[in-house]
């Protein structure tokens, strides 16, 4: 048992930041600005010249990811050999005392993200070449995809909150373009808009949080914020709760936490490689990343420590509720989507439990196995031309590479020893139990139970997915084939990583990852496991094994899918899950349609009939008066202007009469003559 005595981070003393003995990373860190810039520049290149290249722009996209992967891994290795912290910034504006900057930060946290985005991105971009072959907008797809990765790197490399917002929203736009890639179908467009708007709602929180922090300490730099926290800045303490809460609301949008989770399953409308990258390395990780970046704000007892309770509850709700929905999905991508939500819930729970390392470690391992699972699912969809598991079955015979890799991914996700998910999930369980011992109290204890139950659910729905897809009889049409090598090689690569990534942090044996992501400007005091907690590891493993066992019992064999599904049709619960707890319905019918419909129409009506009514009424009144006063004298003028003219009704009519007879010259001349006088006056008096 490792109830760590680790204090909740209070480093007031000056020397704290030097205690880490971080290096500045030398040239490698100085040039790291290339990591976000190369994809963004190549994105433009793909747009403008992509179509003329032999591979239609794919080669540029692939090169950008290869570059990021190589650079990211190089940094990763350098950081593992000795922590790096480097920040570079250029000023882009100065307003009063406020400075706006672009820059790049190279430290343990961002390096881990560069490496993950690069490596997973490389696998997905390679795969996408095969998957998107023959697509009507092949080049444009890779342009948006490169923008997507580039935007994520802008976000990750941000040394200040404003640049974070920029990357944050660019990720949102890129996701909009990708989800709606097949925009001929309005259903896809609706999904794209839903993703964008849901995120935009959460961004209200992010922007307000950034404003609160920036105005309070007079700087947007993370390093200044962290310093203010280390120095127990009294101004920041006052607003810490609201700032922390608002930033978390922002994080809830991108990381799809309940109740902002609704956009993510719909985002499956995009091509499968998009889902893969979005769920593994980019976009959904942004929220967890932000919580990691701002970790001391939540962890320090003087600051937003109360928000942590909210974070852990939201995370637990997300991990449990969405995991259940995954059980009733027929669309294989939706199963994985709800699974992602559930896993993001784990990461959020970890952050809420004060476990910086555990949250990021799960982000790290999840990136590999979830990226893999989506690509494997895409390979299946590519073969059977359907997303529905009721059209699949028995595919393990036709697609052995896909089957084996999918199986490894599923086991890793379910948390089976010794694959990656086992280690990261165990790390989270351990951290929650530490939190329960260190002040988290009852909430943390309940969350621990929920998290173990979540492990059961995860294994259960993945077992279901594996059996329905790969076992039994094939129910689809035609003869499915294994995908080409350009698609299976990335699967194999990611499967290998899913198997071994967990070894980066094995409590008591090798805890490299803890040190790697701990290379920050100030020490990250958090709950992390120092040795394997056999009780918790055993509980987690047992829950997963039980899930697989029951899943096997229910869905193994050649049962008809429908019958298999019926065994799970528990009254009340099933319709509740199928309608996704009616949350989507409430948002669409209750909020969106009401705003777009009655409210917007009422505003427009009031504009036409109330405000303009007054204006037109004044006009009509003036016209009426004019009629009385001038009677039949100026019939024509009144006729023309009766509808709206105010005091100058007759005059305006006269003018119009001239213009329509083409005598603009007269007026222009008059104007000209008048202003000539100005010039002459100027000349005389000069």
């Amino acid at each position: 048992m490792t109830y760590l005595a680790t204090s909740l981070l209070l480093y007031a003393e000056e020397g704290a930041e030097h205690a880490l003995e971080l290096s500045d990373g030398g040239l490698l860190a100085e040039w790291a600005w290339l990591i976000p810039i190369v994809p963004l520049v190549l994105m433009f290149a793909i747009v403008f010249v992509g179509k003329r290249l032999p591979q239609k722009g794919w080669e540029l996209a692939e090169f950008s990811m290869l570059f990021v992967a190589v650079y990211g891994v190089a940094l990763f290795v350098a950081n593992a050999n000795g922590g790096i912290h480097y920040e570079g910034s250029i000023e882009i504006a100065r307003i009063g005392s406020l400075v706006l900057e672009w820059g790049w930060v190279v430290d343990g946290l961002s390096i881990m993200m560069y490496a993950v985005v690069g490596v997973v991105g490389l696998a997905v971009f390679t795969y996408a070449k095969g998957y998107m072959e023959g697509d009507i907008r092949f080049t444009w797809f890779f342009a948006s995809f490169t923008l997507f990765a580039g935007a994520m790197l802008v976000l990750v490399s941000a040394p200040n909150l404003v640049q974070l917002i920029v990357g944050w929203e660019l990720v949102g736009v890129a996701s909009y373009l990708l989800i709606g890639h097949w925009w001929e179908d309005h259903e896809n467009n609706a999904a794209a808009i839903k993703a964008f708007i849901t995120n935009k709602v959460a961004d209200v929180g992010l922007i307000i949080g950034v404003i609160i922090i920036g105005v309070t300490i007079g700087s947007f730099r993370f390093s200044d914020v962290l310093e203010a926290i280390a120095n127990a800045d009294s101004g920041l303490i006052q607003v810490a709760f609201w700032a922390g809460l608002m930033l978390f609301i922002g994080a809830m949008g991108k990381s799809a936490q309940f109740p902002f989770h609704v956009w993510l399953p719909d985002a499956m409308a995009g091509p499968t490689p998009v889902s893969s990258l979005m769920h593994a390395a980019t976009m959904v990780t942004a929220g967890v990343y932000l919580l990691g970046r701002m970790f001391p704000l939540y962890q320090n007892e003087l600051f937003a420590v109360d928000v942590k309770t909210i974070i852990i509850i939201v995370g637990a709700l997300t991990l449990f509720l969405t995991g259940l929905i995954a059980l009733v999905q027929d669309d294989i991508k939706k199963v994985l989507a709800y699974s992602t939500l559930s896993q993001l819930g784990y990461m959020t729970v970890a952050m809420g439990a004060g476990a910086y390392t555990a949250g990021l470690f799960h982000l790290f391992t999840h990136a590999f196995f979830k990226g893999l699972l989506f690509l494997a699912a895409g390979s299946v969809i590519h073969a059977v031309h359907s997303n529905n598991m009721s059209d699949m079955g028995g595919l393990r015979k036709f697609m052995p590479s896909t089957y084996w890799t999918f199986l490894i991914g599923s086991l890793a996700l379910a948390g089976i020893f010794p694959l990656a998910g086992f280690w990261s999930k165990d790390e989270i369980l351990d951290s929650i139990s530490q939190d329960a011992g260190a002040g988290g109290g009852l909430v943390a204890s309940v969350v621990l139970v929920v998290a173990i139950a979540g492990a059961f659910i995860t294994a259960f729905y993945m077992a279901r997915a594996v059996y329905l897809t790969f076992y039994g009889e094939y129910k689809g049409e035609g003869q499915p084939h294994e995908s080409p090598k350009i698609m299976t090689y990335p699967l194999i690569g990611l499967a290998a990583l899913s198997a071994v990534a967990g070894f980066a942090n094995m409590p008591g044996i090798f805890t490299g990852f803890t040190d790697w992501v701990g290379a920050r400007i100030i020490v990250m005091g958090d709950h992390h496991a120092e040795a394997i907690n056999f009780l918790l590891a055993g509980a987690g493993l047992a829950a997963a094994a039980a899930g697989i066992a029951i899943g096997t019992r229910l869905w193994r064999g050649d049962r008809d899918t429908q019958a298999a599904r019926d065994t799970f049709r528990i009254p009340v619960l099933y319709p509740l899950l199928e309608r996704k707890y009616y949350i989507d319905d409430f948002y669409l019918r209750g909020i969106v349609n009401t705003t777009k419909g009655p409210i917007a129409r009422a505003i427009d009506w009031s504009n036409t009939y109330v405000l303009d009514g007054v204006v037109n009424g004044v006009g009509a009144g003036a016209g009426f008066m004019a009629k009385i006063v001038y009677g039949g004298i100026d019939q024509r003028g009144i006729d023309l202007a009766i509808n709206a003219a105010a005091a100058a009704t007759g005059e305006a009519g006269e003018q119009l009469r001239y213009t329509t007879t083409g005598r603009v010259q007269q007026y222009a001349w008059a104007l000209f003559a008048g202003t000539i006088l100005l010039v002459v006056g100027f000349l005389i008096f000069n």
């Binding site: 504006a93 009063g96 922007i207 404003i211 405000l611 305006a652």
Partner: protein
């Protein structure tokens, strides 16, 4: 270059277009080609000189009025030909000459009915003089003349080249042509505000001692507390009314959707890009420095009206079916952010307002360009009939999508800074202003950005995406032509450049704004 810096440079920027208008009018009507080249030459010269101003301007002292002159003009009333620019007016002046140039380029082969390029170009040129003049004038009479000068050309532009479809006005029996209703409404509405503004100017003149119309002298007096109390309140209200109509602020905005919708493309562009800015510019240039005490009294009310405009404008957009009318209503919301920034009376907020003005100029200008070209091709602006535009005209659709993204305030593009910093300013307004009002305004304004994203994305969905409707099948559509691209690409580049490197604007405005806030409000 003494002549350039002693007032001739600015004077030429202002009056060259007017001389051009004279030349154009003297040409025979049939000589369309010559008229175009003459107009282009003059607006190009005006733009070129304003670029010259950028080089001559001393960016180390942006709070100083530079390159101007101060000459006796109408001695009997003490009105002087006083012109000059500082960091606040510089971006506006360059924006004005830039957009005018693009408007002429675009017009090259896009003539709304009833054609007549000669008259149309002459009006653009006269308009340019009015707009440029407003941004350099430092004397209230001079300012007023230029401010009013823009009315007439725009009135004719809408009234003659505008939309001829008949419309029914609620409460009236007879149908009228849209262009007539819109142009008269525009003219009278603005005139109504201007009358009060003129009264306010005269009141300032008679209260000042010695009597003067000079903005700088009046500002000095105002900051010493000459225009305070009830007098100040009435004067502020009168002047504000004039500017508020022009901005336009809710609830004085109803002329705008009609005018924009009815105006020919170039008219909408100039109206949105420059004319609306005259109002906000006037508030920053005249109301704040001359009546600082009153500005602080009114600021919370302005903030409230501004957020009403943001929400109201966005909700109204959601109900629109006409593409141009939607863009027009979006201006109400965007100018709401500008007003919100101004109402904070802080350096951050006013800087936000100025970059917001420039950004709205280039973004909404471009939106109207594209919307105009599209309705020219489809002969309809009804969004329900459009759709699948990306298939029919990919380049135009792409630019529309890009501009819509910029308009919804996407970070990295020009529109973001104005919105974000206006919200930033409202979090900590000038000392003494109600925190409750301004922080609520911040939250509501931030929610407004969601609605903005909503209506723009739905607009894109209706217009750009999906399959083209059967109505258009078999028809040939010409995607953006050379003149259109020549007018649009510079705007696209400007949107990107300001978004990535906002110092382009803040580098000019910051010093001047900080000085303004310090002298007027001590903040």
């Amino acid at each position: 270059m003494d002549w350039f810096e002693s007032g001739w440079g600015l004077s030429l920027i202002v009056f060259l277009p007017l001389v051009g208008a004279a030349f154009v009018l003297m040409l025979p009507k049939a000589q369309e080609r010559v008229a175009k080249w003459v107009s282009l030459g003059f607006v190009l010269a005006s733009f070129g000189l304003s670029v010259g101003v950028l080089f001559a301007f001393d960016f180390d002292v942006t709070e100083k009025f530079q390159l101007g002159t101060d000459l006796t003009w109408i001695p009997s009333i003490g009105s002087r030909f006083h012109i000059g620019i500082d960091g606040i007016s510089l971006p506006m002046l360059v924006l004005s000459t830039f957009i005018t140039l693009l408007a002429v380029v675009y017009s090259w082969n896009h003539w709304p009915e009833p054609h007549n390029p000669k008259a149309f170009l002459a009006l653009i040129l006269v308009l340019a003089t009015g707009m440029n003049g407003t941004f350099v004038a430092l004397d209230l009479v001079l300012f007023f003349i230029f401010f009013e000068l823009v009315l007439l050309p725009m009135y004719f532009m809408i009234g003659i080249w505008g939309d001829r479809t008949k419309m029914r006005i609620p409460g009236f029996k007879r149908e009228v042509e849209t262009r007539l209703y819109a142009s008269i409404k525009f003219f009278l509405f603005t005139l109504f505000g201007s009358v009060f503004m003129l009264l306010g100017f005269l009141a300032l003149y008679f209260k000042s001692d010695p009597h003067t119309f000079d903005m700088l002298l009046l500002a000095d007096m105002g900051q010493m507390g000459v225009f305070t109390g009830t007098f100040g309140a009435w004067v502020f209200a009168a002047i504000f009314l004039g500017f508020a109509v022009k901005v336009p602020m809710w609830p004085l905005h109803t002329w705008l959707p009609d005018a924009h919708t009815a105006a020919p493309t170039v008219g909408s562009v100039l109206l949105a890009a420059i004319l609306l800015k005259l109002g906000t510019y006037g508030i920053i240039r005249i109301s704040l420095p001359i009546l600082p005490e009153q500005a602080q009294v009114w600021a919370p009310w302005i903030a409230i009206l501004a957020v009403i405009a943001i929400i109201y404008g966005s909700l109204a957009c959601l109900a629109q079916t006409d593409l141009k009318r939607l863009i027009a209503f979006s201006s109400v919301g965007h100018m709401g952010f500008v007003m919100l920034g101004i109402s904070t009376l802080t350096d951050i907020g006013i800087n936000a307002a100025i970059i917001g003005m420039v950004a709205h100029g280039v973004i909404t200008g471009l939106l109207f360009f594209v919307a105009g070209s599209m309705s020219h091709r489809y002969h309809t602006r009804e969004m329900s009939r459009l759709g699948g535009n990306m298939k029919l005209m990919p380049v135009m659709g792409g630019i529309l999508a890009f501009t819509a993204m910029a308009s919804l305030g996407l970070p990295g593009l020009a529109g973001f800074w104005g919105e974000f910093m206006a919200l930033l300013g409202s979090f900590s307004p000038l000392d003494g202003l109600s925190l409750g009002v301004f922080r609520s305004a911040m939250v509501i304004g931030a929610i407004g950005t969601v609605l903005t994203a909503g209506y723009l994305l739905w607009m894109l969905q209706k217009v750009n995406l999906g399959e083209p409707s059967e109505e258009w099948s078999g028809q040939e559509f010409h995607d953006a032509d050379g003149f259109e691209l020549a007018a649009w690409v510079p705007l696209v580049i400007a949107i990107l450049a300001i978004g990535v490197f906002p110092k382009i604007i803040f580098g000019a405005t910051d010093g001047a704004v900080v000085h303004l806030v310090k002298t007027a409000f001590g903040g």
